[in-house]
Symmetry: C3
């Protein structure tokens, strides 16, 4: 798709400097651009690379625009505008609605306006909204409700009684609705507690690859509208995640934790069970959250990286920290 | 399924207070109960919610029973009894034995009393015990032995030469028997060590979704009877896990680690290779175990969460901890 | 396969002591060996087990050879030689080239010298090199290029536009090419940035089970030749990993991080986005890398394990570490 600078300017209501008839047809990194690429620049430190790019068109801020040449699109948030231009240029192919002949469906009256790839198996009493895509080898359990515009990549597993909102994207290998880790102890052995809750996923949620979201023990596990979840994330039973919260890769969230809206959980962080985290909280990567957070802010735990031989000494002192403190007090 | 209080009382040999002919037909959380729900109460802090529940029947302790009204089932361990009542009420549908026509099996004489869903592929010389369920898109490799009552959810992969005990549950996306991470270094490159051991999984084991259990390098990886493993867990080659140990989500256990019986490993914890952990040990979440544990107890590592701006200062001091200590000594 | 000591000695150009006509037919651990097993010994601490082994043939160093009896193969690196002998003895079955009748391929002219198991789906314009194996239920997206000698175990998902070098092994449940976690914020909601880069995987790479490697946002995610990646690893968009680097289980590498050659990243470590790590760096398990590493060495973070009751006290002091330090300075 080719589009002129002028058209972009009009569509997104932003100013431009340069040749309005200039056509771009791809978005690119600065390094790998060609003459018809559009690039973005929101960080002064990347200015030095501008000389070497083949791109003739940059999206940038007013402030940085004075260092740029050729065609410039000026806006407040170049990254955001770049995202929108990219969506426009990389518009997804229109789905050709078809249910592949190998699909096994125990629901007879599936929507006709969906694309289902080979080897998908669909349980009883399933609904899938129009304009949805279900990739090869997905499994959709009984009583699953999926709204319109869903995109389930290949090899996704949805257990029974899961509800999925509109425009949800789920990447390969992800499992929604597996049993929560719930047992009662009897002497030394474990008695399984039937996990009879479901999972309720809001609208505009995206879930990465190889992530697990467990069904609730009694009530539902709930993922709010607009939540973004990365790869390799573990979300235990009865977790609740507020709207537009973003959860990076390898995060683990234990049972019944309740995370607010607009939070950001850094990669590899762990959230203890039954914890509440208030709206607008930011947890840095690999932090461990083991008590409630009642005030928005940026939170961290852990220790910094150092040479192992120094770390060994400091770590040994950490083991005696309380002792040292008591001595010092005296 | 409807069941009277009296029947429950008789079946589990517990006392009740109230109307023995009262029927319940579901287990529920306090919040979402209806009139025929049974709920449980084992924590004083939840007493305040009792006024608002629609449930007329609670399982609780003798101590807490005096704060309850309507129908009360009195027992020592309400959570355990609740689990058992839930199992009774949510009894699983009896399997209708069938091997779907799309199943490809290189073993001819499969047990007739099993249910195999579509698109399952089964290797040579496989045995699957009666009353087993194999979900859609599972792959069962050559020479795998699965005892009776297995439940493999959809998209499970079992490599060749894996042995699985009776009444084992494995959730979707889990991989059993992948090659261990074993290489010898030659100059700068890695020479693969063929992973020719197997995996031996005991009876009554449950394994969550998207978990990996590697086959042994030479001998077997061994998961003891009654072990419960959550989602997103990594169990490396030649690990041995003792009976009834519970391993929460996102735990990583490196090669040849040996974990005792009745241990509990908190979410996100990491166990170094070749470590031994004795029976009845408890590791808290996100702890790192890098030496043997010879005495049962509760063990932890890490630092507590704090505001990032405070953390930065404390973390900087941690880097100098040994130095500080040496100064102080003088 | 049976092979004599003499043949081994000749093939690998190493010395032996004992009966050159003695035949071995399997590699084994010391404990489970039989008379025809070959075992290895590179650690003095295992000498004590030699008395009880049934093996008559050991691969060891010159130094340790004096404590061994029967047949001895003497070399500098017993583990490496053992790996090579194991590869020789456990030679993989020759593939019988066949594309199963259930395979759905949108590419018509697939190589004839490949083995594709049931229920595999292959997109348009795919190439797969000779002597490759594609396991049951794999999905290979459009425009994927796989060189010769690939081994994709069952249930692997390869998104479109991924390039895979020769002799690459990918274990089950692994996903290559899922979208990176890229969004721009607009007010409180997230705007998806189309992930239009690909993934480029070099030669002789092995990737464990249930690992995720995201496609690049604009340019490619790059995995160098000879890289070994374990299970449950998360590799985000635009990460670059240098040749022969080894990444243990549960590691998370955030977007655009660049890791050098011959590095070793311990299990559960986390690498922050946009970080650069120089060649030959070693990161110990569960460490958090949040700034560039410019000098090769062994690096660590975290705190050691201790009894929880002691940890609680020390951890509380850590929260006041800066305060304590400032007091002390006075």
């Amino acid at each position: 798709m080719n589009i002129t600078l002028k058209k972009i300017s009009e569509k997104f209501n932003v100013e431009f400097i340069g040749d309005g008839s200039y056509e771009i047809n791809n978005v690119s990194s600065i390094a790998n651009a060609n003459e018809n690429s559009i690039i973005f620049l929101s960080d002064k430190n990347f200015l030095k690379f501008l000389d070497e790019t083949k791109s003739k068109t940059v999206v940038t801020t007013k402030e940085l625009s004075k260092f740029c040449k050729n065609n410039i699109i000026v806006c407040d948030n170049p990254y955001l505008l770049f995202a929108k231009i990219s969506q426009l240029i990389n518009k997804q192919d229109k789905l050709i609605y078809k249910i592949h002949s190998s699909v096994v469906s125990y629901t007879n009256d599936l929507n006709k306006e969906i694309l289902i790839e080979p080897n998908v198996v669909i349980g009883k009493n399933v609904t899938i909204g129009e304009k949805s895509f279900i990739g090869t080898n997905c499994y959709i359990g009984d009583n699953v409700k999926i709204s319109s515009g869903a995109k389930l990549f290949q090899n996704v597993t949805i257990y029974s009684n899961v509800t999925i909102g509109s425009n949800v994207i789920i990447h390969s290998g992800t499992v929604i609705g597996s049993d929560g880790f719930g047992y009662a102890k009897e002497n030394n052995s474990w008695i399984k507690i039937p996990q009879i809750g479901g999972v309720k996923i809001g609208n505009n949620v995206e879930i990465g690859s190889n992530t697990s979201i467990d069904r609730g023990a009694l009530d539902n596990t709930i993922i709010g509208d607009g939540v973004k979840i990365d790869n390799q994330v573990q979300i235990a039973h009865n977790v609740q995640i507020g709207e537009n919260t973003a959860i990076a890769g390898c995060v683990g969230i234990a049972g019944s934790a309740k995370i607010g809206k607009n939070c950001s959980i850094g990669g590899g962080a762990g959230i203890q069970g039954h914890i509440e985290i208030c709206d607008n909280t930011q947890i840095t990567g690999m932090s461990k959250v083991s008590s409630n957070i009642k005030k928005a802010g940026v939170y961290s735990s852990g220790t910094p990286l150092m040479l192992n031989k120094e770390w060994l000494k400091n770590a040994a002192r950490f083991k005696k920290l309380n002792e040292l403190f008591l001595k010092y007090k005296k």
